[in-house]
Symmetry: D3
Subunit: 290 residues, 6 copies
């Protein structure tokens, strides 16, 4: 989430317009009044989205004052106050839903991520996300992953290359596919190969893949396979003896630790994004002066 | 979801660009090849998004052929084929993730909605959604609600007016707020008042609200309150003796039926949108000819 | 007109760019100079657009100072000063035409609306606008209607449903059309049926329409028809005995009062938008210090 | 109006979205049905907008067939059929209002322009428009002027330069302003000076203006002034003896001919745009087969 | 380059987004730090783009302070400091490349233009640019031409008309083409005809062209042709004895002076835009306090 | 250059609009005529942009037929025909300049790149580009680099991280900067460190950089330094003994081979983008039938 990017402003405007449509019909009742409000959380978890909330209200009405009480990535407990707002009542009402929806969604992801990351504590493995993200929210959901202590996998089809089942089905083998992609890509591009069998994995390492995604292997299989792949990598001339990053996917979240102990570098999972609930926040309004 | 709206095309383009970024790095390996593929579901539920998938691929590459095997709103069972695709391999790969993400998210909502709707079967009450939707996906998530058998609540701040806690806090009472909003709104606008106590509800009905949202009442309280509100409404001169729509919110989903039996017209819940998991689909690739 | 909506900023920018094109060719002659100016009206009427003028100049150049002397919706008389501006001369020149064009157009609508509204004084009927608006100016022209004392009809195809001649021609009767639309629409949606004959009107009321638009009926016909429709509505079980809103259209503006006295709730007319002239304002420039 | 310009497509999309908003609520009742329709005019005048109507419907739904029966710029008489449409009923309904609004507005302008142009028949003078145009419709309203037989004045602040009252107030005289603008503008730029007195006009011709706009002069004054200005122009060394274009503005439309006979080249007026009514068209729907 | 135009802001945002993509990966390392920096030039030439640099950084982060040390159009010498920046280190890093790329490109054009303009010193002829400009940078590259002392030719296909080889090939002669374009264009439009032979040029002058572009004539040919064309123009009744602008194109830059002395008004060349190198600037960073 | 990306269409539309502005003034003279045309090159080099030209004309007018005679990346010789076009004359004229400008610019880059790449033939080193690209054309100019046989460096600030002079000035050393960036970046991100001295380079390798950019070293210095850096890399435990990519920048193009022989993997240069001339193409029109 780069707050500098003009693209973010465009997204926030779009989202505000989505809720405002042709204008808040109740704003006539609020015209001329100042209000203040605060957010509290009804659930514990990890907070995410404070700076976005700030940006949303400032896009809508620069006269709204906002005070963030909790930093992104912080643990929050039931009933905790998250932020305070003050400004024209109509502006507070107009931005409420968009800001809450975004922050509750992202905090839900951060919270779910943190729970999985905690299971990997003490192991070498890191939890990474996937490209299964809500259309339009890719960068923000990946930011929530980081707030939850996870790391991001590639951001899109263009910042790393992954050769998957379909590429293998349509090309003449992993070696040739890898060479074509390497040649046409920017030099810093890492190329990852998804493997469903040990021979596929071995072939990919020899062919010079930077990363291997081992899909739906059992921890037991990995205990055997991973040292062998690292050995091959270190001996491979074509790779300059370089290391290889090994990732497991298709992992049931309850077995995370077993996978980590099998020696993988990364465990990728979409669960915090595709299977988490929103954290429940509430915006409470106060008459000014009370 | 109006497929005619140019605005939908802009959204789909944005979402494709989000994943494509500066271009699929693996497309060089697929250039010149034709492929075919199909989708299957790994979970049972209610399907949603077929026409959108069609539109996504046709925005990307009009030469992609798509055959929908399941209509939106249909029940699907594990392993069922959902649709078939044929076209340039690079186009199939470029659109895969965006199309799957959207359809899996929407089908998850439709499925969760259908489960709740089933509980209301045989009652007068209808399940409606809320404005708690993912930023950017409001219309599509509300379309998924309909595919699951639910009905939509208002679409934004501009197609119905709801006077909530904050309006009551900031205005001089519900009566004056209602009059100001009525005067400044298009005449077909329905005005709904959120009430947290019986006196508030009664006052709102007398003041001429078109709908009352009863938040966090128990079914027992509603059994008493609702007939009284309907009676007041039918006797109210200012309303022309008109009916009133009564909605319950803050309802735990396990008590849906009890609320329905208490006589509400609508039960609003954000649960299918804020607490559902994505349905899990898979896109399988085939070499052409096999 | 919701000044909060980012969408409004985009429109204003577009309109400025339309006049500026590749840049004001005379700005080189004005570079470095400060200027001040004021607006006067050459015609009497109702003013509309002050806040928009303010917004236009602030989009163009935040250093321009503007002082509004007349509130939107106020009556203005010939020669009256409307607002004062001060800032870089090149900015004043660059925004002049766009701001004047918009405000003169909207004030013309407000003025024409006010004239018709005056004729309805003392009656129960309200004047409402239609969807006959200039492409791109829908919301602002409807705002001008309100400034002139009129009320808005629906804002678009999506905030109320109207079943018209074409729907009746293409569907299996008003009853089935009404049911389909009710089922697929958000619950607060009002459904209006356009009727050209008494039987059509009666059928629509029985079928549960929320509003009836009676097109090109004479006042005499309405004197008979309207009480009957209200009676039917109050007796209709399917409507819960609810009231019905009755609207007349196709009304020559000189007979407005006769229609109002026939008992309609609303008279809809596009005349202030399709047949009014712009109010004539002039921007006068002053050398600073003089 | 350049149908090639991608910018036009964006405008049409915007206008469709303005009416469609979140989608036509009645489209559910029309789904799956084909329809046909035609347009007739209820008033005589000059038609304008046929190709735009075609483009609007094709943006919305490429399967809609449209047959234009009348060319832009043609005279039409009451009851004349203007065009025929056939396609999905929901698409015809969704585009109806936007297409009618645009074409009725433009035809109103073309009709009003043609009436004024007729008064100039037999004279040397041409009728030109101004920059008083509806925000967002500049190019289309100017196209309507041409369809009515008028000619366009400059399209914006950037395709010709006009030095007006404010430039004279803020600069050190017309001569220096003219030189600065000439130096900083593309060489084909014509520079026009607005004059309110004879000495101003004379000074501007000597200073090398390409055109003189004589504002609020009487025909009698012009009879004397114009030959003198042309004489000065032909003798002016600095202009290379070049001709000058003389334009009158602030002309009451009933005196058009008198101004033309006073020898002006152009009479500019905003009346067809700021004071004309829309032409009244109607879209009639037919059940297919009837 | 009109800094008022909202369109310019959109371009600058697009360009920033192009480099930022999904966000500067190094910004995490800079978070919370303030920095300052300055620009120096490694080459001598003519500077261009200062106000744009200012605008770029202010779009990105309004808290960045920038002090321009050199005005656009000024000569700069090796090692000269061009501007100073101070603000959040992450913002300085995020805008660096976009700002440098733009200013280095424009300064390269200004420098190359100035060199050619110097060769025309003492002659009547002016150097003008063409429509050969980098897509997206038309206005800024033409601004750079002016900073280098050149004048602009038309800005696009719409602010002057040029009848070229293709128009002559496809129309019924220059006379009819000229009449059609004159009739359909705004009255201030200048029409230029490109001629490759003397008879073509003569015909165009007689037909009333405002300008003649003589392509790939030798200086010797022009010495004879130009006086004849001016004579014909001054005698032409249809032109009102008006002057004609004569432009030479297809001129090798080393022969500029010979063409100027042959009596042309304008020499058009794309060389400063299509054949110049960027000027080389460097942004130097300083720790604050040093 | 990913032809699938909707973002590309938006760019092409913008560029067409930039030239078309309010519409081609000469199109009235071409209306209704069909034409054909072809492109030839007046200079030899490497062609680039054929598919883009195709896309530009199809955006403008889908009825234009285009036949590409030369593939992107092919060598072309003086006078060679590049492509043929047929369609409405007005469409050919409207797209000509935009298409030529783009293709001539890109072919200039491809040609200049190919010349440098040729000098590296027989060496291990590859030529890569930089982020010095024309604003708005980043992806297309990088595509041209590939057409000329070069490889791309990172595409923006977000697909690889480079720690430069400013990061070192503002952070607490390369080690800490590297760790922070590694932690906050997607795992496939490569981190490159720019070094201006041998100790800096050594430190960066030890700290775990994936690539080292050696700026303004002499070939002699590199002969000594590079083997040492590779040795350190292979021994570094923190890197897992992985290889390092070594890049030289600040290289005068005449010494390319010497640098290659000093053992660098990559030589980065902006010269083909910042110092190349456009290749000169011409579009020749033919009357149909001739």
């Amino acid at each position: 989430m780069d707050l500098f990017a003009p693209a973010l402003n465009r997204l926030l405007d779009e989202w505000l317009d989505e809720d405002l449509g042709r204008g808040d019909l109740t704003s006539a009742a609020l015209r001329g009044r100042q209000g203040c409000a605060y957010w509290i959380t009804k659930q514990q978890g990890v907070f995410c989205g404070g700076e976005l909330v700030e940006r949303i209200f400032s896009r809508l009405d620069p006269s709204v004052q906002i005070k963030l009480l909790v930093a992104d990535g912080s643990r929050i407990s039931i009933g905790q106050k998250l932020l305070e707002l003050e400004g024209p009542a109509a502006s507070l009402a107009a931005g409420e839903r968009t800001a809450l929806n975004l922050s509750m969604r992202l905090s839900g992801i951060a919270t779910a991520t943190a729970a999985l990351v905690a299971e990997l504590e003490g192991t070498h493995a890191r939890l990474v996300d996937t490209r299964k993200t809500t259309p339009g929210l890719r960068l923000l959901e990946k930011y929530a992953t980081r707030c939850g202590g996870g790391q991001n996998h590639r951001l899109g089809l263009d910042d790393a290359a992954m050769l998957k089942e379909n590429h293998l089905a349509w090309c003449d083998g992993v070696k040739s596919a890898l060479r074509v992609v390497r040649d046409s890509s920017p030099w810093p591009t890492r190329i990852i190969v998804e493997a469903e069998t040990s021979p596929q994995a071995t072939e990919a390492v020899i062919a010079g893949a930077d990363g291997i995604l081992l899909d739906e292997f059992s921890p037991e299989e990995l205990h055997v396979l991973i040292p062998r792949l690292r050995q091959i990598a270190s001996e491979s001339v074509s790779r300059g003896g370089g290391q290889i990053i090994i990732e497991a996917s298709g992992v049931e979240t309850k077995f995370l630790k077993a996978y980590a102990e099998a020696g993988v570098d990364l465990i990728s999972t979409s669960a915090p994004i595709t299977r988490s609930s929103w954290l429940d926040f509430s915006m409470r309004f106060q008459a000014l002066g009370s």
